[in-house]
């Protein structure tokens, strides 16, 4: 294994251009006189240097006729209009067109293909439309409650001490409306007899399907639409009114 001193000597020998370079440090020269391994290294580097120099002398000169292609290319480069310059206006026009289209799309209102008049109708539905929508929601639920045949008088009766308020006195809906929630009860359309009479007669009567009319107990409209107060019935008022619509 080489000593550290020999490694430094090899570095100087590799960069040395002549056999004994004047700039070679004195300690390197003294080491060369005493170290046989470094002397062999110095001879090997010297032989390699001589071989490379002889090889360099054997290299040929450049061919004489090599000027023509360079001249032709250079003159062609002078004549030909640069492609980048030619394409620059086209690129600018394309970028401007794309920017204009994007700006148009960003500034146009979002209509989704619906005319403005139809949007106004959706935003403010008429009373008839509101009733029809409420019926559509109530109808399937009413079928399920029909078979129970529970008279509303037994289930929810008016309190004797509390007078039943009229619908006209119902408070206006609050500003912050609750989430959409619908409760449905059913009431027979035919006016039933008083409670004492209906109980014994129910056993004798055949099982007839009584047409029922859905009663909207509570139906809060969506927050974005204004439905007249008449369609908003609080459950307490409906119970007091005996299930009246």
């Amino acid at each position: 294994m080489k000593r550290l001193l020999c490694r430094w000597v090899e570095y100087y020998l590799a960069l040395c251009e002549d056999d004994i370079e004047p700039g070679l440090p004195g300690w390197v020269r003294r080491h060369l006189q005493s170290c046989a391994r470094c002397q062999a290294e110095a001879n090997a580097y010297r032989r390699a240097r001589e071989a490379v120099r002889r090889y360099a002398r054997l290299l040929p000169d450049a061919p004489v006729g090599g000027w023509q292609p360079v001249q032709v290319h250079a003159e062609r480069k002078q004549r030909v209009f640069p492609l980048q310059v030619a394409l620059a206006p086209v690129a600018v026009a394309v970028v401007a067109l794309i920017g204009f289209v994007v700006w148009q799309r960003a500034s146009a209102p979002v209509d989704d293909g619906v005319p403005q008049t139809q949007i106004a109708q959706i935003a403010q539905p008429s009373q008839q439309e509101a009733v029809e929508r409420a019926k559509k929601v109530v109808a399937p639920a009413a079928k399920g409650t029909q078979r129970k045949q529970n008279p509303p008088a037994q289930r929810v009766g008016p309190e004797p001490n509390r007078p039943a308020p009229s619908l006209r006195q119902a408070p206006s809906p609050p500003v912050h409306r609750p989430p959409k929630r619908i409760l449905v009860a059913a009431q027979p359309l035919a006016q039933t007899a008083p409670e004492t009479e209906t109980q014994p007669a129910a056993e004798s009567l055949p099982e007839v399907e009584v047409p029922v009319q859905p009663v909207l107990v509570e139906a809060s409209p969506p927050a974005t639409r204004d439905i007249p107060e008449a369609y908003v019935v609080q459950p307490a008022y409906a119970a007091a009114a005996g299930g009246v619509e």
Partner: protein
């Protein structure tokens, strides 16, 4: 160039070789192809030999030399004159040669009729055989080096550049040039010891 025009220019003191290099560069920038031809004549051999030492193939070296001069012509406006024009041209050629070696990644092929030192017609066959053997041996040893190490060997031992010129040509510091040269020569010495059997 026309002979009469040449003689007239010599007679009137307008010989292109007598012009300064900066004047030639200015004329080249103005589009004078004749001035560029003068620069070509002055520096083509140095650029060609630098490239040939790296790629090892005369045909590729010739093509790369033309490419280097063409690039130099196109980039002549960016030449600031901080280095010599020869160093700048060699730098372009060396970088092209290194890229060529990296891209090709194949052993450079040298044709057998490579005209070495003016040809073998005027020397005896024994000397010609020795030269051929030496040339092939050193070429193989140089080809075994990485491209950047080839470049420092070529610039230092074949073109005789000093360290500062080499640093400008290779785009690195002087210390880096010395370190590369040390490693390149150590590798080259090891390869030559193997190829020549210790007696080059």
């Amino acid at each position: 160039m026309d002979a009469q025009v040449w003689e007239w220019r010599v007679a009137t003191g307008e010989h292109p070789r007598q012009e300064g290099e900066q004047q030639l560069i200015e004329r080249c920038r103005a589009g004078d192809m004749e001035a560029f031809g003068t620069l070509w004549q002055q520096h083509r051999t140095a650029v060609f030999r630098s490239i040939l030492g790296i790629v090892g193939n005369p045909q590729d070296a010739e093509d790369l030399t033309q490419d280097a001069f063409l690039r130099a012509y196109r980039a002549l406006d960016s030449f600031r004159g901080e280095a010599q024009l020869r160093t700048w041209l060699i730098r372009i050629g060396v970088h092209l040669a290194i890229d060529h070696v990296k891209r090709k990644k194949a052993r450079p092929e040298v044709s057998l009729d490579w005209d070495v030192g003016g040809g073998y017609a005027d020397i005896d066959p024994h000397t010609a055989a020795e030269r051929n053997e030496l040339r092939e041996t050193v070429r193989k040893a140089i080809e075994a080096l990485p491209p950047h190490h080839r470049a420092v060997i070529v610039l230092r031992d074949m073109e005789g550049m000093d360290y500062s010129e080499m640093a400008q040509a290779l785009g690195c510091s002087v210390g880096s040039v010395k370190l590369r040269l040390f490693r390149a020569r150590r590798l080259l010495k090891q390869r030559l010891e193997v190829l020549l059997g210790g007696s080059p």
